[in-house]
């Protein structure tokens, strides 16, 4: 039971709003100690795991390119482009990206997207611009809400699209685990059963995006109580 103390520390630390790096490190050390390891072994294990996980941070390589393009007006261009399309609304822009992201992920093309590459420089500015064209300057709270929605669409699209592809890591993991337990399934059997949830994700989140449009209209459109 003591081995679960790390989980408590993580939950309490995040709820209390402490610096997550600190919380995670304390949780790792406490968990290791509770699991019967000594301090040096725990720190070594944490260091080894950190080193083995460096691939997670590779995504920051895109920053020089994105920053350089931002300096030259990439965001502004994305906004100008959307400003010219009169039927564009925040919800429609995000729904279109949701469909593209989910569709390409279902074909295994998960690298066509991402928060640093697509959402910050292109999708979020487009979604904001669509609202600005209609309603003028946005209150900060609305602006942040739209940006959060832009990030969410990227996640939801890829999570509930990728499992339809037969060679994606999660499908291979399910298959590998079942195989270890003496059950053999074909990847196609797994990916077929990801389709109903994928459709549900598109319907549910698509509806929420349309409702977002309505909420924006009500809050900022003509006749809105300010």
């Amino acid at each position: 039971m003591l081995t679960l103390s790390g989980i408590l520390i993580v939950v309490a630390g995040f709820v209390a709003g402490l610096n997550p790096l600190l919380v995670v490190t304390v949780a790792a050390i406490v968990t290791g100690l509770a699991g019967g390891l000594d301090v040096i072994t725990v720190i070594s294990a944490f260091g080894k795991a950190f080193n083995d996980s460096r691939y997670v941070s590779i995504v920051w390589l895109v920053l020089p390119v994105i920053g350089l393009l931002e300096r030259t007006g990439l965001k502004e261009r994305a906004q100008q482009l959307i400003g010219r399309i009169h039927s564009a609304t925040t919800g429609r822009v995000l729904l279109l990206y949701l469909i593209l992201r989910q569709g390409t992920a279902a074909l295994g093309l998960t690298s066509l997207g991402g928060h640093a590459q697509m959402v910050r420089p292109l999708i979020a500015p487009m979604a904001e611009a669509a609202a600005e064209t209609r309603f003028g300057t946005l209150p900060d709270a609305v602006r942040f809400k739209i940006r959060a929605h832009a990030a969410a669409v990227d996640n939801i699209g890829v999570f509930f699209g990728e499992d339809i592809f037969i060679a994606i890591a999660s499908v291979l993991l399910i298959r590998g685990f079942l195989h270890q337990n003496g059950i053999d399934v074909e990847p196609l059997q797994l990916s077929v059963w990801a389709i109903p949830t994928a459709i549900a994700a598109l319907l549910i989140h698509g509806t929420r995006l349309m409702l977002l449009d309505r909420r924006l209209q009500r809050a900022l459109g003509p006749g809105a109580a300010r």
Partner: protein, 319 residues
């Protein structure tokens, strides 16, 4: 053979350059701290494998001390031209600005498809297991060359701009890596085993619906704790899925596995532990609320979890 090590060197050099630019950034009140933080990360990427496990552990502790105490890292001025200049520049370049931006995913994608098959003699040109990440790095290099040739900015501009962006992300940039490391320590200490036993013991095993719900909700909850469904899946499936859904009630393992993993993804939408999906974008988009992205995702996550539970209950058992 090109392996991930080449990509690590590239990233290490970037972090090193950012550390250098931070050091001389007089607009940043904490420039020394920032320089030390990104410098240490550069050391990790350039020479992490030579440091030894304890050396890496001490490096991580140093990163945490720099970011976690004394108000954390600082943030330099943007070094971004004013909005009017950027708007004029956007009009001047037009849609050509999208070309380098889209070159990253396009090259990454082509690389993933093509590089796998390229061989020198009987050895592959790139490590087949890492082809996606290596292709991403290749995409970045191609895009950077294109952007430099097209825009002709000062040579220091890419690094200066990368520093600007990394300053906005701050310590959150290493949080995903840190959480991955925490997951490894949890696994080492046997956290999964304990959770799996607890879950297996706690549920009433005679109701099909409750067994399914325990499995899907358990997947979501344990994913929220671990930060990813991949860590939760073996634990919950060994604890609940296989013994109860498959063995006891004769459920279909493919349907269970597929919908079980997707239930885990619902959890991923709702947890700060999935930092790369939820916390990093909040920082990248400069949201004042660290949990802003999670808050938007929670309704979709809960609704989809309910959908997955009902789908599994209806589909998994033999008729």
């Amino acid at each position: 053979m090109i392996t991930l090590d080449a990509v690590y060197v590239l990233a290490g050099l970037l972090f090193l350059a950012i550390a250098g630019f931070s050091l001389v950034d007089r607009t940043n009140p904490k420039r020394l701290k920032n320089a030390a933080f990104w410098g240490l990360l550069a050391v990790s990427f350039l020479g992490g494998s030579a440091l030894g496990d304890l050396g890496n552990g001490i490096l991580v502790l140093a990163l945490v001390v720099l970011a976690g105490f004394g108000g954390g890292l600082g943030r330099g001025a943007g070094d971004l031209p004013p909005a009017e200049v950027r708007e004029a520049s956007a009009r001047r370049w037009g849609n050509r600005l999208f070309i380098p931006a889209l070159a990253i995913p396009v090259v990454a994608l082509l690389g993933t498809l093509v590089l796998k098959t390229v061989k020198f003699g009987d050895r592959p040109l790139v490590d087949p297991a890492q082809v996606t990440l290596i292709s991403l790095a290749l995409g970045v290099v191609v895009a950077l060359v294109m952007a430099m040739a097209m825009l002709r900015p000062p040579m220091t501009a890419p690094v200066q701009q990368a520093r600007r962006l990394l300053d906005t992300v701050g310590w959150a940039a290493v949080l995903p890596q840190m959480l991955a490391a925490l997951g490894a320590v949890f696994a080492l200490a046997g956290v999964g085993k304990v959770v799996g036993q607890l879950a297996g013991d706690a549920i009433p095993a005679d109701s099909r619906f409750f067994v399914v719900m325990a499995y899907t909700v358990g997947m979501a909850l344990f994913t929220m704790i671990m930060g990813n469904g991949f860590a939760a899946f073996p634990v919950m499936t060994a604890g609940i899925g296989l013994p109860l859904i498959v063995t006891r009630f004769g459920g279909d393992p493919a349907i269970m596995g597929s919908l079980g993993m997707l239930s885990g993804f619902c959890g991923t939408l709702m947890t700060p532990m999935a930092a790369n999906f939820n916390i990093v974008p909040a920082a990248l988009l400069e949201l004042p609320d660290r949990n802003g992205v999670i808050k938007v995702q929670v309704p979709t996550g809960l609704l989809l979890l309910a959908v997955n539970t009902v789908l599994m209950y209806l589909l998994v058992f033999p008729r």
